[in-house]
């Protein structure tokens, strides 16, 4: 029995074969550093562009949290029983979606309205206060779906209350954000496909340089999988390098745009600052690099090895 094929030896041998393939692939890259760096740079640029757009979009969405105008939900209580009002108040105290709320009774409302008028005596002809009691709710979120859910919950408790929400601008901002995401995903997919094709070409040309080694290995009984393995590790190395490079580009690009954006926001009297992407998005960027690198190597090696003698 060949030692390489003994069951107990199979796993360590497999590990060793993979480690060798990875090591050889890394060595080959270090021997031709310029070409490898070009592949890494191309992938890095391709990844950094949509990532930067995403950072801008993500920050733009958080703009709604920075604008000094929270969405409001007003509950008009003229047709609501006192018991139901008490229910409402208990509910508002416990629901986490509620930031704060204020009870404004009809007299206070009228008094405030009167203060706003140039000539308060204009209201003196009224025999009674036409305004209802109002509960003014400030939600803890600007997310439209959560706002809808909260409004429905309040309307459910007090079916007679007039529930009016002032969150149209949140919806507009959100739909713009959705549009931006859609455009970004189209751009991202197209750029990703481009990256895969470029890396596939690089892999295929690298395999052409190894033609003699491949021919000899084939004659010695190498499988397709064995011949492909170093290329796939090469793809992962390029992918990781591209991801790291894209991360550097993204962080420096974001940092460099912070000051000009803050100036622009100040000019529009917006309290807004561009924040650096967190660990989660950066991990996704690295992962995207690895996936694209692997796909490119898989495509290129599959093609080149099929054509090889």
């Amino acid at each position: 029995m060949r030692p390489g094929h003994h069951l107990l030896n199979a796993f360590p041998a497999w590990m060793e074969a993979h480690r060798d393939a990875a090591r050889r692939s890394l060595q080959r890259r270090l021997q031709a550093p310029i070409l490898s760096l070009i592949s890494i740079a191309v992938l890095g640029f391709i990844l950094a562009l949509p990532a930067y757009l995403w950072v801008l979009l993500d920050n733009a969405r958080s703009l709604s949290a920075h604008i000094d105008h929270d969405p409001r939900i007003a509950l008009y209580l003229d047709a609501v029983e006192a018991a139901t009002v008490a229910d409402l108040e208990r509910y508002l105290e416990t629901d986490a979606r509620v930031e704060r709320w204020t009870w404004i009774d009809a007299d206070t409302a009228l008094a405030r309205y009167r203060e706003g008028l140039a000539d308060p005596s204009l209201l003196d002809w009224m025999e009674e206060n036409p305004l209802p009691d109002v509960i003014d709710v400030v939600p803890a979120t600007t997310d439209p779906a959560t706002l809808d859910a909260l409004r429905d919950a309040l309307a459910g408790i007090a079916p007679g209350a007039g529930v009016v929400s002032d969150d149209e601008w949140v919806r507009q901002l959100n739909s713009l954000h959705q549009l931006g995401l859609r455009i970004l995903s189209v751009v991202g997919v197209l750029l990703g496909l481009g990256a895969v094709l470029i890396l596939a070409l690089a892999t295929a040309s690298e395999l052409r340089e190894r033609q003699e080694e491949i021919a000899i290995s084939r004659i010695s009984g190498a499988t397709h999988r064995f011949l492909r393995r170093p290329s796939l590790y090469g793809g992962l190395i390029t992918g990781l390098g591209g991801g790291v490079f894209a991360t550097i580009l993204l962080l420096s690009g974001t940092a460099l745009s912070q000051a000009p954006l803050a100036d622009a926001a100040a000019a529009f009297e917006l309290d807004f600052s561009l924040s650096l992407p967190g660990a989660g998005p950066l991990a996704n960027l690295l992962l995207a690099g690895l996936v694209l690198g692997w796909l490119g190597a898989r495509l290129g090696s599959g093609h080149a090895l099929r054509d090889a003698p």
Partner: protein, 225 residues
């Protein structure tokens, strides 16, 4: 071990490289193919190694029917064969050791066992002291011996050699054929192509003589005493 029945090989519309060749080499035997260059010796070896497909006829090698060999079965078939080329076909981007280790790497041998076997093979061809050298720095004879070490390192059941003494002087040629004789002595079936009829005849092994793709003569000289 090797059984060819009326095998014909034609490349495109050219004349037949091999016409109606039948051949049988028993397991554990050693035989030679002779003939001038262009007689079809290399084609015959390439057919036996499964590197070419016959236009007509049937080839059975080591229990494999090559006509019915599926692409998935080709690697395992080739692992049972060792091939020696006239032009060595060594890889100059790595040292001698790595060249010889290639078949073992393909078979996923582990490092310590691989090292043992590569060094045993290099020792057998007298090049243990050159394991770290780049094959480019070796003489033609040494390169040929590295190629032989690579062909036998995984202990194939069948050794095929195409003009293994092609570029060598007579003394080196005899030494290389003696090596093949040694491998055959430990049970490896060997089929060797050579245009050097005088050298081959002195080995006292069965000989198939090819001319223009046809079998011209079969000889079974008496073994040397």
């Amino acid at each position: 071990m090797i059984h060819l029945q009326r095998v014909t090989k034609r490349f495109g519309s050219a004349a037949e490289a091999l016409s109606n060749v039948s051949l049988r080499v028993d397991s554990g035997a050693m035989a030679f193919i002779t003939g001038p260059s262009g007689a079809g010796k290399s084609t015959l070896l390439r057919l036996i190694a499964g590197l070419e497909r016959p236009t007509r006829g049937r080839i059975r090698v080591n229990g494999y029917d090559l006509e019915r060999l599926s692409p998935r079965a080709i690697p395992s078939f080739r692992r049972s064969i060792g091939l020696v080329f006239q032009d060595h076909r060594l890889l100059f981007d790595r040292p001698v050791f790595d060249n010889v280790a290639l078949p073992l790497e393909i078979l996923a041998y582990r490092r310590p066992e691989m090292r043992k076997r590569v060094r045993a093979a290099l020792d057998k061809v007298g090049l243990l002291h050159k394991e770290a050298a780049n094959p480019r720095t070796l003489s033609a004879g040494e390169q040929q011996r590295v190629g032989i070490a690579r062909a036998i390192v995984h202990r194939p059941v069948l050794l095929l050699a195409d003009e293994p003494t092609g570029n060598l002087d007579p003394a080196l040629s005899r030494e290389i054929l003696r090596l093949f004789d040694d491998f055959n002595g430990v049970g490896m079936t060997a089929l060797i192509a050579s245009h050097d009829i005088g050298l081959v005849e002195r080995m006292g092994k069965p000989i198939l003589h090819l001319e223009n793709g046809r079998v011209e003569a079969r000889a079974r000289p008496e073994p040397r005493t």
